[in-house]
Point group: C2
Chain length 387, copies 2
């Protein structure tokens, strides 16, 4: 279980006196995020459907030559809808229904780009190392039932949909990939972005199922902004964020599945650092809840065989290029985070801090090229023996 | 002024009930840092000399083939000792005296490697854009008076000393550099590491005084551990941290000078992200207090000419490779942070998370090499006109 703490942010709100709270928020979160006023119909629908709905906004300075480029993104975090031993097709259908009712509220809230969590149509069953039935959740990125479902949503709501699924690639030997499908607001499949870095940590036995992605760092120019998708463990790799940014991404989504014991203290750091380092918005999303498996598995830690991976702690948030961030969604409930942003902030912060200009990438291209050679000799300075 | 908040950490301690506090600390800081028990003589000397003294420890698992590699680092943050219009040599002498009395306490506290703040012998006068008298603070890294002073400290206490100064390089046309001199516990100058990335942000007009460093990413193998120095603004550049780590650094110091309005919400993020991403310890140090200049200067922000850069907020801390960190020193007082660490933790965390193994550096070396070409075409996917 995620324990009793709903979120760090709500705990600070409850206990710290207002005058100190403002300072704490300034230092910890870059200030008080502006609250969005969301339509009553959206708020009541969220309550009825039992999910949290929060809205925040990031502003930019007015410019002379560019209008504000306002976009609303929606981040959805959710539990699986049915037990993991339910028939595959029934589980998928239940998740489609759940997401459809949350996306409807996103539309009411004015969301332009929505992103679901990693492998959102399935339990995160890679801990089991079993192939069946879990690989049956894999679908074609181009025309699988989930992509078709998302295309309908996109057209219905004029919304860009990012749908991270387990992909079956029939044109390349039926291989599996961990893939985000990006669907334009017109309903067209714009393209896909495969997970670039695959974990071998704890129970995240994903390397048993699929390989490092081969789609590079594509950036998608949508009606609402230039976006990219850095899937889950790619969050830990600063170079992965950097290359999405080099290709022009202003918003980088990070659909994830990660558990409390492993990564909860790293979660507030990494995506936010990426927003700062790359002068862009980042949107980390984590699922919530516990997922139980019929067959026990071990964790390579000397512990007993068990039936779950631990709790997914939610806490989805948005980080801005200026070092600020929104509060996170809760650690245990389904939720929709609606964040309005003026994309002009990216270039404004870039012109202020100049990390791209001062980045000395030529030097690093050379140094990395050297460092990966088998004959690489690290630059280590030792004390001379004479001393 | 730094305001009324001594530090975020002390504010949380005061207001949040114990059972919730433990959870908050786990999520925000990776848990409760182990407190070091420091000698009474050190604690009383610190009190007498009016500086904060805090001690924490990070542990690692026992291994069969390696003994624990325990090292104690000391981070010193301080105000300037005299007004900025005092004679240069008098200011330097006063700072030498102040540091000597803090280092003596570091020695009593068992510190093996001590690091001072950026350009520690001078006010951070680059905001003024005046050349005299500020460039007179520059010294030879190899045999300047400050290096000699540090060599004496090193020998006296068997301590590695990292001394970040404004360097005058007489053998290359008398150029200036922002340089950390690394002095072995034997008293020998092991080498130097120049600031790789130079800011052009706010009042940090350092590019008026010196250029991007040309010493690369040297790592120093000392008696107590393999260390590197990433100076100040290099903190914002993930590739800078990465190359120090690629060369084998287990502890990366980050002597800095940065002010509240500019960077305080980024401070807890960047060095900590670097510790996580590179499986090493990072040690960011920031000076404290206000520094007033006789001649007013403007800030390029439409505001009135004024006499200070704003307040330096201290808050020096140590981040560990496992995502945890110590509390910070205070936001306004001189201080010494003593942190004991078992360097075996670096490889243990690396073997757990495998960021180096999964980093795909060959791919990034190629991609960066492409990205820096004038003819680089970003990988942007647009909707086809037919839709």
């Amino acid at each position: 279980m995620a324990g009793t703490l709903e979120s760090v942010e709500s705990c600070l709100e409850r206990h710290i006196p207002p005058e100190e709270l403002a300072e704490v928020k300034r230092i910890l979160y870059g200030g008080e995020a502006r609250k969005l006023s969301l339509p009553a119909a959206a708020l009541s629908a969220a309550q009825e459907r039992d999910f949290e709905l929060q809205g925040y906004g990031f502003d930019a300075e007015p410019e002379q030559l560019r209008r504000p480029r306002i976009v609303r993104v929606g981040l959805i975090q959710n539990k699986i809808a049915l037990p993991t031993d339910t028939a595959v097709s029934v589980q998928v259908a239940a998740l489609h229904r759940r997401i459809a009712e949350i996306v409807e509220v996103a539309a009411k809230s004015g969301v332009n780009i929505v992103c679901f969590q990693e492998a959102w149509t399935m339990p995160f069953a890679f801990c089991t190392r079993e192939k069946l039935p879990w690989t049956e959740f894999a679908e074609s990125a181009e025309d699988g039932p989930t992509t078709k479902f998302c295309q309908e949503l996109a057209k219905k709501y004029n919304m860009v949909v990012i749908s991270p699924i387990l992909e079956r690639d029939e044109t390349h030997g039926g291989t599996l990939w961990n893939t985000a499908v990006v669907i334009s607001s017109s309903g067209a499949v714009l393209g896909k972005s495969r997970k670039n870095h695959i974990p071998r940590v704890g129970d995240f036995n994903e390397s048993t199922y699929y390989m490092e992605g081969n789609t590079g760092h594509p950036v998608f120019q949508t009606q609402f902004g230039t976006i990219a998708v850095n899937i889950c463990y790619g969050r830990h790799h600063p170079l992965n964020w950097l290359m999405f940014s080099m290709n022009g991404a202003e918003i980088i989504f990070n659909p994830s599945a990660t558990v409390g014991k492993l990564s909860e203290s790293m979660w507030p750091i990494e995506a936010r650092n990426a927003a700062i380092a790359n002068h862009c918005f980042t949107c980390p999303i984590n699922r919530v809840g516990m997922e139980y498996y019929k067959n026990a598995f071990t964790s390579g830690d000397g512990g007993k065989a068990h039936h779950d991976l631990g709790y997914f702690y939610g806490s989805s948030y948005v980080a801005a290029p200026d070092g600020s961030r929104t509060p996170g969604l809760s650690r245990g409930r389904d939720g929709l985070l609606v964040v309005e942003m003026d994309l002009n902030l990216c270039r404004q912060v870039s012109d202020k801090w100049n990390f791209k200009m001062t980045g000395r990438y030529e030097m690093y291209a050379d140094k990395l090229t050297e460092a990966v050679q088998p004959c690489f000799v690290p630059n280590i300075i030792k004390e001379r023996a004479s001393h």
